[in-house]
C-alpha cells in the first residue's frame, strides 16, 4: 500500500473517531423551555398536615417549578371555605370532598374535579378496644359522637341507612373535632377521620377499634382536586401541570415516607412527628392501593356518591355526575 494512502486512511479514521467523540460528548444540552412562572393559589381541604404531603413534596422538590408554577398552599379556614374560595376566584385550585363539589354544582356553582387523592374516604367511627364495638351494628344502644355539619355525619347517616340500622336506638351526641369525648367517657363511639382522631386515643395509651365507613358501602371520594369549569377549559396546561406535579409529589411521598413526614412538619409546625407519621401511614392505603394509578377516578364511584347524596337528600334532584369531573388530565398524564 502506498504510504500516503495509509496515512490518509489513518487520518480519515482518526477524524471519524474524533467526530464521533465530539458528537457524543460535546452535544449541546437540550435547551430548557423557559416558560413564564405562573403564580397560583391552592386552597386545602383542611389545615396543614400529612393529608397534603404530596403537595408539600411537589412544592419543596421543585416539581411545581418544573411545570413553571409557583404554588401558594393555603390551609382551610371556616371564614373562607375551600369551595367558595375557588368559586369566587380567590384560589385557582381547591382540594375538597366529592360530596361538597356535587352539592356546590347542584347550587349552580360550576366546579369540576380533575383527580382524586383520597380514593377511600377516611371518615371512620372509632371506639375503645375494650368496648368490643367492631362494626356499625354494635352501635345500637350506645352513645355515638358526631361531628355536625361535616361530611363525617353525612357518611355516618348514609352508612346507617345503607346498613338498615335504626338510629332511634342510638344516642347520637355532638362532639368536637377530636377524641376528647371518647377518652373522657362521654361517648362509646366517636366519629372522625381514621387518619387523625384515632391517633389521639393511641397517644393517650389506649387501644382503639376503627370502623372505616367506606368499608360499609358509603365510600365518597374524599380529597378531590378541582377548579372552576372556566379554569379547566381555558387554562388546561396550568391544571395539567399542577396535577402532574402533585401526583409526582404523592408518588415520591409514598416511596419516601420519612422524608415526606419531615417535609410535612415544615408546614405543620405545631404537629408532632409521631402524629404525622400515624396520619401519613394510615392515609397511604386510602390514597393508593396499587391496582389503579394515583389520582384515578371511577365512573361507578362518582355515580355512587351521587346516589348516596340523593338518598340523603343532600341533593334535591338527580344530576349528571359525569359533569362533575373530567378524566382529561389523568388520561393525558397516564395514557399519553
Amino acid at each position: 500500500m502506498n504510504k500516503k494512502i495509509l496515512i490518509r486512511d489513518l487520518l480519515i479514521l482518526f477524524s471519524i473517531v474524533s467526530s464521533i467523540f465530539v458528537i457524543t460528548f460535546l452535544r449541546p444540552a437540550p435547551e430548557q423551555a423557559s416558560k413564564k412562572i405562573e403564580n397560583i393559589t391552592v386552597k386545602l381541604k383542611w389545615v396543614h398536615q400529612a393529608q397534603f404531603a404530596g403537595n408539600y413534596i411537589a412544592q419543596k422538590k421543585g416539581f411545581y417549578k418544573d411545570e413553571s408554577l409557583q404554588v401558594n398552599l393555603v390551609p382551610f379556614s371556616f371564614e373562607d371555605p375551600t369551595i367558595e374560595a375557588v368559586a369566587e376566584g380567590r384560589a385557582l385550585i381547591g382540594i375538597s370532598g366529592a360530596d361538597e363539589l356535587l352539592l356546590a354544582r347542584s347550587k349552580g356553582v360550576p366546579l369540576r374535579a380533575f383527580a382524586v387523592i383520597f380514593k377511600t374516604n377516611p371518615v371512620a367511627a372509632y371506639a375503645l378496644k375494650e368496648s368490643g364495638i367492631t362494626k356499625p351494628q354494635d352501635f345500637i344502644g350506645k352513645t355515638v359522637g358526631l361531628q355536625r355539619g361535616t361530611n363525617v355525619d353525612l357518611l355516618y347517616f348514609a352508612m346507617m341507612e345503607k346498613l338498615g340500622i335504626d338510629r332511634e336506638k342510638i344516642n347520637e351526641v355532638t362532639i368536637g373535632y377530636d377524641a376528647t369525648e371518647l377518652l373522657n367517657g362521654t361517648t362509646d363511639v366517636s366519629t372522625g377521620y381514621i387518619i387523625n382522631e384515632p391517633y389521639e386515643v393511641i397517644a393517650a395509651g389506649r387501644e382503639v377499634n376503627k370502623i372505616l365507613m367506606a368499608d360499609y358501602g358509603v365510600n365518597m371520594y374524599a380529597d378531590v382536586l378541582f377548579a372552576t369549569e372556566e379554569t379547566i377549559e381555558k387554562r388546561p396546561e396550568l391544571v395539567e401541570g399542577f396535577l402532574r406535579a402533585t401526583l409526582k409529589g404523592w408518588q415520591y411521598a409514598i416511596e419516601n415516607e420519612e422524608e415526606a413526614i419531615d417535609i410535612t412538619l415544615t408546614y405543620a409546625a405545631d404537629r408532632t412527628q409521631s402524629h404525622e407519621t400515624y396520619l401519613f401511614t394510615t392515609s397511604i392505603p386510602l390514597i393508593h392501593t396499587g391496582d389503579s394509578p394515583l389520582g384515578w377516578m371511577e365512573e361507578e364511584e362518582w355515580d355512587r356518591i351521587h346516589d348516596i347524596l340523593l338518598e340523603q337528600n343532600i341533593l334535591n334532584k338527580k344530576m349528571n355526575s359525569k359533569d362533575a369531573y373530567t378524566m382529561k388530565f389523568l388520561k393525558e398524564i397516564y395514557i399519553n
Binding site: 504510504k3 495509509l6 489513518l10 377511600t120 367492631t134 362494626k135 356499625p136 351494628q137 345503607k162 346498613l163 372505616l212 367506606a214 368499608d215 360499609y216 358501602g217 365510600n219 408518588q251 409514598i254 416511596e255 415516607e257 397511604i284 392505603p285 386510602l286 393508593h288 392501593t289 396499587g290 391496582d291 389503579s292 394509578p293 371511577e298 361507578e300 364511584e301 355512587r304
Partner: protein, 728 residues
C-alpha cells in the same frame, strides 16, 4: 526517516491497530457470551418463576373452585339465605375454617351477597362490610376472577383475592365467593435468589407501574414503589425482551423481562452488570497482557524485518555514495546479486548501472583529457599573445585575463577574474576621460567585431593612463547566440609617441629648414642672375654663405635625426668598451677650427686611471660634441673652456666649463627642453637649433646618468654629466 524505522512504525501501528481491534472484538465477543449466558440463566429463572407463579395461582384457583362446588357448603348457604339461621352459617364457617387450616395458602374465605356485603367470613370482623366496588366482587359475580396484588384497605395489607360465583344445582348464581390468598409464598418465590448472585433479583410490576412484591434489598416497596424504567415501560407494552439497562435503583443490570398476560404483571429478572461482567475484568487483564506481549513480539519482528530489508538497501546506499564519491571500482555484494527479490533486482540494476557508468566514465575521461589539452593550448596561446586579452561572459564578468593584460593594466588576474570588467578595467577617451566602452556592448549586441577608432586610454591600477588600441569580438555559442566577448587591447603609447615625433619632425623640419633653404635659394639666385657682373670676391662670399647654410642644414638634419631616433628609440646603442679620452680628443679635433676662429683656449684634465667603459662611442661622442660646441658657441671671443673627465666611483664625471654669456636664472629650468634657446644668446648667434642639450639629456637619461649645470649670467656655465662606470 529511515526505511527500517518506517517499516517498524508501520508494522507497529498496523499491529497495534490489529491487536487493539482484535482485543476489542475478543472483549466484545466474550462480553456477548457472558451476557448471553446470563440472559439464558435469567430466562430460565423467569420461565421457572412464571411457571411457579402460574402454578401457584392456578392451584389456588382450583382450590377455590373446588371449594365453591362443595355440596355441603352450597346446601348450607341456600338454607342460610332462606332461613338466616346461625347453624347454617356456622356449618359453612366450619367448612371454610377447616379448609383454611388444611391449606395455609389462604388467609380468609368469605361469601358476599349481591350487594357485595360480606355475609359469612372466616374473619368475623369482616362480616357486614360491603365490597361493592371491589373487582373480585364485580367480576366474581360472573366468573372466576383473580384480583391480583392490590393493597386491601380493609385488611391494611397487600392482597390477592380470587372471586367467583356460587351457583345452585340449577346453575343460578346465589352468592359470590372469595378467597384471600396468602401472598407470602409468592413473595418467597420472587425473593428466591438462586442463580441470581449477590446483586440479582426477580420482581413483579403491575400495569400501573407498581412493584407488587417486596424488593430483595428494601422493605416497603411492595405496591408502593412506582417503576418507570424503560424496561418496565417496554414490558408493560407486553414485550418480552432482555438487555442491559438501568433498573429501578438506577443500577446497571443485565435483565430479562417477561409480560405475564394472564395476571397482567411484568416479571423481571435482573443481575448487576458489574457482578455479571466480573469475569470480564480478568479477561480484560489477560487481553491487555496478551496484546502487550503480541505487540512487543510484532515490534521485535518488525525491527528485524526492517533491518533485513534495510541492510541490503543500506549496502547499496553505501555503494551509491562511494560511487558518487567517484569510486567506480566498487563491487556489489554477490550475495545481493544472487537474491531473487526486489532487492536482488535493484542490486542487478545498480550493478549494470555501475558498469555502464564506468564505460562512459572512461570515454568521458578521454574526452576531458583532450579538452584539457585543447584548453591548455588555447590558454597558452592567449597567454602568450603579445596583446592584452581578456574574456567576459554574458554578464560581463571576466573569465580570462592574460599576462600582457596584467602588464598593461597593472591588475593581476586574481583581481579581475570573476568581477564585472566595468568595475576594474576602465576604458576612457583620451581627452575628456569619459567612459569609452560602448564598443564592447556594441559587439555583444550586434554580434560583430568592434574596434575602437578614437584614442582610448586604460586607467591602470595605479591610476595612470595608458593609451590602448582595443577591439572586442563577440563569443558565440553553437546557435549563434552571444555568450560573451573577447577583448584584445595593446599598449600603443610608443606608437602614439612615434606618431607625435613624426608630426613634430615634419613641422620642425619645415620650420627650421626654411631659413637656411631660403638663404641658399637667395644666394644661388644672386649668383645665377648676376654671375657675370659680380666680382669674384662677392661670388666667393655668396658661395660661402651657401656653404654655411647647407652645412647648417646638414647639422640640423643630423640633430633632427638624432632627436627623432632618441625620441622614437631607434637610436641603437652599440655597446663596446670605450675610451672617453680618445672620443673627447677626436671631438676636440673636429672643433679646433671653430675654437681658433673665436680664439678660445681649451684646457683638458683627464683622469689617468680612467678605465674603458662599456658604452656606445657615438653617443658619448654626441655628448662631448654638443657640450663642447655649446661652450664654444656661447663663449666670448678669447674665452676659455675647461674639459675634465674624472672617475668618481661608481661614476664617471664629465665637466665642461666655459666663460661665456651664462644662462639667466629664469631659464635654468627650461634649458633641456627641445628647441629652447636662451634669450640672451639669440642676439649673438643665430646658429643654434635648441636641440643640443635636449639630445645630451636624452642620451644621458638612456645611459642612466645625470646631467646638471651651474651658470652665472655673463660669467659662464659649467655642465656636469655623470655616467655610471658600468653602462650595461
Amino acid at each position: 526517516m529511515r526505511i527500517g524505522t518506517k517499516l517498524l512504525l508501520i508494522i507497529g501501528i498496523v499491529s497495534f491497530i490489529g491487536i487493539t481491534i482484535g482485543g476489542i472484538i475478543y472483549y466484545f465477543i466474550t462480553r456477548q457470551a457472558i451476557e448471553e449466558r446470563i440472559v439464558a440463566q435469567l430466562e430460565s429463572i423467569t420461565i421457572l418463576k412464571e411457571n411457579q407463579l402460574n402454578n401457584f395461582i392456578s392451584e389456588e384457583m382450583d382450590d377455590v373452585i373446588v371449594l365453591s362446588s362443595d355440596e355441603a357448603l352450597l346446601n348450607n348457604l341456600i338454607n342460610f339465605n332462606t332461613y338466616q339461621k346461625d347453624e347454617h352459617k356456622e356449618a359453612i364457617q366450619d367448612i371454610l375454617i377447616n379448609k383454611l387450616q388444611i391449606d395455609r395458602d389462604f388467609l380468609e374465605f368469605f361469601i358476599m351477597d349481591f350487594e357485595g356485603k360480606v355475609v359469612i367470613s372466616t374473619d368475623p370482623l369482616q362480616e357486614g362490610k360491603i365490597k361493592y366496588s371491589e373487582h373480585y366482587f364485580r367480576e366474581g359475580k360472573i366468573e372466576v376472577f383473580v384480583q391480583s396484588f392490590y393493597y386491601d384497605t380493609a385488611l391494611q395489607e397487600p392482597a390477592m383475592t380470587i372471586g367467583l360465583p356460587l351457583r345452585n344445582k340449577e346453575g343460578e348464581v346465589i352468592n359470590v365467593f372469595a378467597g384471600r390468598v396468602n401472598l407470602e409464598d409468592i413473595s418467597e418465590l420472587m425473593v428466591e435468589k438462586t442463580g441470581l448472585g449477590e446483586t440479582g433479583e426477580t420482581y413483579l410490576v403491575n400495569k400501573f407501574n407498581f412493584m407488587v412484591t417486596e424488593s430483595r434489598f428494601y422493605e416497603g416497596f411492595a405496591l408502593r414503589k412506582a417503576i418507570h424504567t424503560d424496561s418496565v415501560k417496554n414490558c408493560l407494552k407486553k414485550q418480552t425482551q432482555h438487555g442491559i439497562y438501568k433498573n429501578y435503583l438506577d443500577e446497571e443490570v443485565i435483565g430479562r423481562y417477561r409480560w405475564i398476560a394472564r395476571h397482567e404483571v411484568c416479571l423481571l429478572a435482573e443481575i448487576g452488570k458489574s457482578e455479571a461482567f466480573e469475569p470480564l475484568d480478568k479477561i480484560v487483564f489477560s487481553i491487555a497482557a496478551l496484546s502487550s506481549a503480541l505487540l512487543a513480539l510484532y515490534i521485535t519482528l518488525g525491527f528485524f524485518a526492517g533491518k533485513a530489508v534495510a541492510r541490503p538497501i543500506r549496502t547499496l546506499t553505501d555503494n551509491a555514495s562511494a560511487l558518487s564519491g567517484g569510486d567506480l571500482d566498487i563491487k556489489i555484494d554477490p550475495l545481493l546479486l544472487s537474491k531473487k527479490d526486489e532487492v536482488g533486482q535493484l542490486a542487478m540494476a545498480f550493478n549494470s548501472m555501475v558498469v555502464n557508468l564506468k564505460k562512459s566514465h572512461v570515454n568521458l575521461e578521454e574526452k576531458i583529457a583532450l579538452l584539457k589539452k585543447e584548453k591548455e593550448k588555447i590558454g597558452a596561446i592567449l597567454q602568450s599573445i603579445s596583446d592584452g586579452v581578456f574574456v567576459i561572459d554574458r554578464k560581463h564578468s571576466v573569465t580570462m585575463f592574460n599576462k600582457i593584460a596584467e602588464e598593461i593594466s597593472g591588475f593581476s588576474s586574481q583581481e579581475v577574474l570573476g568581477n564585472s570588467y566595468e568595475n576594474v578595467l576602465k576604458f576612457v577617451t583620451e581627452k575628456k576621460e569619459k567612459a569609452n566602452d560602448s564598443f564592447l556592448r556594441d559587439a555583444m549586441e550586434t554580434g560583430e567585431i568592434k574596434e575602437v577608432l578614437s584614442h582610448t586610454q586604460l586607467i591602470r591600477k595605479d591610476g595612470s593612463k595608458v593609451s590602448v588600441g582595443v577591439s572586442a569580438a563577440p563569443l558565440k555559442d553553437s546557435g549563434g547566440g552571444v555568450v560573451g566577448a573577447v577583448i584584445v587591447f595593446r599598449d600603443i603609447t610608443r606608437e602614439r609617441e612615434i606618431d607625435r615625433a613624426k608630426t613634430e619632425f615634419v613641422s620642425l623640419a619645415s620650420h627650421q629648414l626654411r631659413t637656411p633653404l631660403s638663404s641658399i635659394s637667395w644666394y644661388t639666385e644672386m649668383l645665377l642672375d648676376d654671375g657675370s657682373s659680380i666680382n669674384r670676391d662677392v661670388q666667393k662670399k655668396y658661395l660661402r654663405k651657401i656653404y654655411q647654410n647647407n652645412k647648417r642644414m646638414v647639422e640640423l638634419v643630423n640633430a633632427f635625426l638624432d632627436v627623432s631616433r632618441l625620441d622614437i628609440g631607434t637610436l641603437i646603442f652599440d655597446i663596446k668598451p670605450v675610451d672617453f679620452k680618445k672620443i673627447a680628443d677626436s671631438t676636440i679635433d673636429e672643433l679646433t677650427t671653430q675654437m681658433s676662429l673665436k680664439k678660445i683656449t681649451l684646457s683638458t684634465h683627464y683622469d689617468q686611471t680612467l678605465p674603458e667603459i662599456q658604452a656606445d662611442s657615438k653617443a658619448i661622442g654626441m655628448i662631448f660634441q654638443n657640450l663642447l660646441s655649446n661652450a664654444i658657441k656661447y663663449n666670448r671671443s678669447g674665452g676659455t673652456i675647461t674639459l675634465s673627465i674624472e672617475k668618481k666611483e661608481p661614476h664617471i664625471l664629465i665637466t665642461v666649463s666655459d666663460t661665456g654669456y651664462g644662462i639667466p636664472r629664469s631659464h635654468h629650468s627650461k634649458i633641456f627642453s627641445k628647441f629652447f634657446r636662451v634669450d640672451n644668446i639669440k642676439k649673438y648667434d643665430t646658429d643654434g637649433n635648441g636641440l643640443g642639450l635636449y639630445i645630451v639629456k636624452s642620451i644621458v637619461k638612456q645611459m642612466n646618468g645625470k646631467i646638471w649645470f651651474e651658470s652665472i649670467e655673463d660669467k659662464g656655465s659649467t655642465f656636469y654629466v655623470q655616467l655610471p662606470l658600468s653602462v650595461a
